[in-house]
């Protein structure tokens, strides 16, 4: 049988061949290709385009099972840096397979989408509860693009053209931030720190800028992460943010949502905007996507007018007291404001937001505290055990929370990776530096035995 005679695709078509003829006939056409009579005929392909397929469902299942097995997902992974491979409870996976949920689109008709809208409102409300921020976007693509959007928003609000960014920051997030800003004439100024935020230099730069004429001022906002990309909890953040605010400059802070089970919230230390990665709230790392960009702020009408992306709010049914939910403040968005919109975003990561909301509800206050402190315990145990090995410095920076930088010494990254992979381990993220620095991230999938195994493997590798 030639490939072309396989019609496995018929499964996805609403009408059969006989019906097709009948329908064509009823509207006065002989064949489906006649429906393209208005198209310049030189553009029409005479034969089907030569791509792979059609495959049967069984074939697809077999082929892709094999492809998926080429990935080393069963390796013991210490990779993080923004996303984290955490255990996903079965009820969550089961609920997310509801066709009503994943085959719907944006709730343009709220009357027939109350379930979706309530799930989104519950997501917004729980992230608000966790972070102390009143308004939560629903949603942006990922942490990196949330940073790009937040930077643009701070510059829109302040009508200035520069953002200060505390390094260490993940190189990927920084690169996306640059794409979102520098092509359109905005500036990103990187302020280097040793593992943590260089508060001093940031304040000096802001102070200098503040002495300019109001119209000449450049710095709209500061961005830093808690913990930093190198895992460090900075000190005296409240005072730092107060100082920044004195100069009339805004602050966006990047946070680890799970850390807020135990850490002070961005609202407590008075950050203006908060961003983070929502994948860690119950989605797989999935090769880097789909993820979930989280953006939050305190209620401020002017800021909210400048907010990117969809917002769902709570109201009532007309003529009754029954609660109802719908998309609101759409006049900020591209379909209404067009080139004056606060962002171009349309399709976003709503399904991941719904997922995150259900995950948080499942965890509850005790669950998220347990999850966060369990990660702290694992990370600190592992850091101490690694530090006992000769030639290894762990952690390089302190105080740290879940993630930490380890100096593996003179061994090359390639050799370390090769040796670890052969022992079933993915040994964290490579960090730029003069020696073999790597960012080690833990997961709730790590039991003590697994952490000990990693330490044993490293002790062997470091002797080589």
């Amino acid at each position: 049988m030639s490939p072309n005679s396989k019609n496995y695709f018929q499964s996805y078509l609403g009408i059969g061949p006989e019906e097709e003829a009948e329908m064509l006939n009823s509207i006065g056409y002989n064949s489906t290709i006649d429906l393209f009579s208005d198209v310049p005929q030189n553009l029409i392909e005479r034969t089907p385009i030569n791509i792979d397929g059609p495959y049967s469902e069984f074939e697809l299942n077999s082929i892709f099972k094999k492809i998926s097995q080429k990935n080393f997902n069963d390796h013991l992974s210490f990779l993080g840096g923004g996303v984290r491979d955490l255990y996903i409870p079965a009820f969550l996976e089961e609920l997310m397979r509801r066709g009503e949920i994943y085959t719907a689109y944006t709730s343009y008709q709220p009357e027939i989408a109350q379930g979706m809208l309530q799930l989104i409102y519950e997501y917004e409300s729980q992230v608000a509860e966790l972070t102390g921020m009143d308004v939560i976007s629903a949603s942006l693509y990922d942490w990196a693009t949330a940073l790009g959007e937040s930077a643009r928003m701070m510059m829109r609000i302040m009508k200035r053209r520069s953002i200060l960014v505390a390094n260490p920051i993940s190189p990927e997030r920084l690169e996306v931030l640059r794409t979102y800003t520098e092509h359109s004439g905005f500036n990103i100024v990187l302020v280097d720190g040793e593992g943590t935020i260089n508060q001093n230099d940031i304040l000096i730069i802001i102070e200098e800028d503040s002495r300019k004429d109001k119209k000449e001022r450049e710095i709209a906002g500061v961005y830093f992460e808690i913990p930093t990309f190198h895992g460090v909890l900075p000190s005296q953040v409240d005072e730092f943010i107060d100082e920044i605010h004195k100069y009339d400059v805004l602050v966006t802070v990047g946070i680890d949502l799970i850390s807020l089970g135990i850490l002070r919230t961005p609202a407590e230390y008075n950050a203006d905007f908060m961003i983070g990665e929502g994948q860690i709230l119950g989605s797989g790392v999935s090769n880097g996507g789909p993820l979930l960009g989280i953006l939050g702020t305190k209620y401020n009408r002017k800021w909210i007018q400048n907010f990117p992306g969809r917002l769902v709010g709570k109201t009532t049914e007309l003529g009754s007291d029954l609660p109802g939910y719908c998309i609101t403040l759409s006049t900020r968005e591209q379909h209404i404001r067009r080139e004056k919109a606060t962002s171009n975003i349309c399709s976003n990561q709503t399904l991941m937001a719904v997922n995150a909301g259900i995950f948080l509800a499942g965890l509850g206050p005790k669950g998220i505290r347990d999850l966060a402190s369990g990660l702290v315990d694992r990370a600190h145990y592992l850091a101490k055990e690694l530090n006992k090995l000769e030639g290894i410095r762990s952690p390089v920076f302190e105080p740290f929370l879940f993630d930490f930088v380890v100096d593996f010494g003179s061994i090359s990254h390639e050799k370390l990776e090769e040796q670890c992979i052969s022992q079933g381990i993915l040994p964290g993220l490579k960090i730029e530096g003069t020696s073999c620095l790597r960012l080690i991230s833990v997961s709730d999938k790590h039991r003590k035995e697994e952490l000990d195994y990693f330490v044993n493997v490293i002790s062997e590798v470091s002797k080589l």
Binding site: D52, E111, E122, S139, T179, G288, K314, L426
Partner: protein, 500 residues
């Protein structure tokens, strides 16, 4: 009378207001290790009032809410421009294979050969379907693809020191994302009017074509569902002044497998994998917006791109210096890219062609029936077949009965049919943009037509019943005006009582 459908009406409280102290749906894995402390200055002081619910309570809550959502799996969803086609279930199964769902994006290349193979296979396949030379899968949505595409155009001109090109031309029928993306990339936007027939006005285009033009962005088939007959001439006109042509691939379902977009004269296009290639719409996303370009634009695409040498796949960073930079923290929405590849392979070339032809047939069949309905008109595309969608207007009905497009949209919900896209494109008054897709059966198309017929008939006999609809959905119309004035955007705002 057509049978109506009552949607579930659960009075389901917010999950935050359910449950009781000590209930726990999910208890994370504990670990037998010494307890560590964090610095005192960092200990959380705010209360943390997340829900405390049992696993069953949570499951029941979400299942009940799901019964108050209309999805493609529930009923017809002719939401124009969104291509609400069936989402194959095999794709959902395969996307959850552990090798795909649990793999970290930054693992060394040797450990992600499966991931790289999926990206590579999709890139190669999209090149063949579009006729372009290079593809990036990185943009995580259609608008992100547009942003990427216009930045590529910008980089191309800048590399040639052609720096005065600061303007993008966009027809007035375009999606709002087009001008928004161009503006985000730092371009000025010139909007040109359409002709009486709904096509690009060549004279209007000519009058704005100068050496300041960086590019022209168009959707084809356009947002009226019509194929631009002069597209080749249009692309040539733009090229003649040194501009580049951008195709918004939102409507790719109307030509996929039948026409290769590059042949029309385009230099760059984005696709919406969640539309044409069945990524589930997820209540608003995730999408995926790959960008395809001609050879001369390859070096400006975001990096890395999946590549293959001998039998080994790797990430190709070779264009890092010329690239516009990354538009996503990692490599885009892999999960949606994978589903798109699965759908394309299930179809093959013959299947995609059949898919496109069937989508166009279904749209024309429905158009044929809607055209005959009293009160509705089809303002554009009088003598040509539409492609995958068409736009009706309820102007006449509004004038004669006071029943608007919005009222029709609401009334449709009572029949278990989602409304079309309304009030878009902006150039059609009281617009209803209707896209049935190839997934719908003849009975389903007949139902949609009959629903329009019954509602418009009712508009003439009992307009108030239409204006007060819907009646059978889980809620009636909502007070959106008060919400916009006092935006209650979370329970925290309710608790703080900000608006009193």
């Amino acid at each position: 009378m057509i049978h109506k459908r009552t949607q579930a009406k659960w009075e389901e409280p917010l999950i935050l207001n359910k449950g009781g102290a000590g209930r726990r749906a999910y208890i994370p894995e504990s670990v037998n290790l010494p307890k560590e402390t964090i610095p005192d200055e960092w200990i959380r002081k705010s209360p943390l009032e997340l829900p405390q619910v049992s696993e069953l309570e949570l499951v029941r809550h979400v299942v009940r809410l799901s019964q108050m959502i209309h999805g493609v799996d529930v009923g017809p969803y002719p939401l124009g421009s969104c291509t609400m086609k069936y989402n194959p279930k095999i794709n959902e199964r395969i996307a959850r294979f552990p090798g795909f769902a649990d793999m970290h994006p930054q693992a060394p290349e040797q450990s992600i050969q499966g991931t790289l193979e999926v990206f590579f296979w999709l890139q190669e396949t999209l090149k063949k379907l579009t006729g372009f030379d290079a593809v990036t899968i990185q943009p995580p949505g259609g608008a992100s693809g547009e942003f990427t595409g216009v930045l590529v155009i910008k980089a191309y001109h800048e590399a040639r020191n052609d720096t005065k090109r600061d303007t993008i031309i966009i027809p007035d029928s375009a999606h709002g994302t087009n001008p928004a993306s161009a503006a985000m990339a730092g371009f000025k936007v010139i909007e040109i009017p359409s002709t009486e027939d709904g096509y690009v006005d060549l004279e209007a285009l000519k009058s704005v074509l100068t050496e300041n033009i960086a590019g022209f962005m168009i959707t084809n088939p356009n947002t009226l569902g019509l194929f631009e007959p002069n597209i080749q001439e249009i692309c040539k006109m733009v090229h003649d002044v040194g501009g580049l042509n951008y195709l918004d691939g939102a409507n790719f379902n109307g030509i996929v497998g039948v026409i290769k977009p590059a042949k029309m004269g385009f230099d760059v296009m984005h696709m919406n994998l969640h539309k044409t290639f069945t990524g589930p719409h997820g209540g608003g996303g995730p999408g995926s917006g790959p960008v395809a370009v001609s050879e001369k634009l390859r070096k400006y695409l975001p990096v890395p791109i999946a590549a293959k040498k001998d039998q080994t796949f790797y990430w190709d960073f070779s264009n890092k210096k010329t690239s516009i930079g990354k538009v996503h923290g990692y490599n885009g929405n892999f999960g949606i890219a994978l589903r798109a590849l699965l759908y394309i392979l299930r179809n093959g070339g013959p299947g995609l062609r059949k898919t496109c032809e069937t989508a166009v047939l279904n749209a024309n069949y429905l158009l044929h029936h809607v055209r005959q309905i009293n009160g509705l008109t089809i303002p554009k595309g009088k003598n040509v077949p539409c492609k995958h969608e068409f736009v009706a207007s309820a102007s006449k009905l509004l004038k004669e009965t006071g029943v608007s497009t919005n009222d029709i949209a609401k009334a449709m919900l009572d029949y278990g049919v989602h409304s079309p896209t309304v009030y878009f494109p902006l150039i059609i008054k009281e617009a209803l943009m209707i896209e049935p897709t190839e997934s719908e059966s003849k009975q389903s198309l007949d139902l949609i037509a009959d629903v329009f017929k019954e509602i418009t008939k009712l508009a003439y006999s009992d307009p108030d019943s239409v204006k007060n609809s819907p009646h059978l959905t889980s809620t009636g119309r909502l007070d959106e005006v008060t919400l916009a004035k006092k935006p209650v955007l979370s329970q925290l705002i309710e608790k703080k009582d900000i608006f009193s």
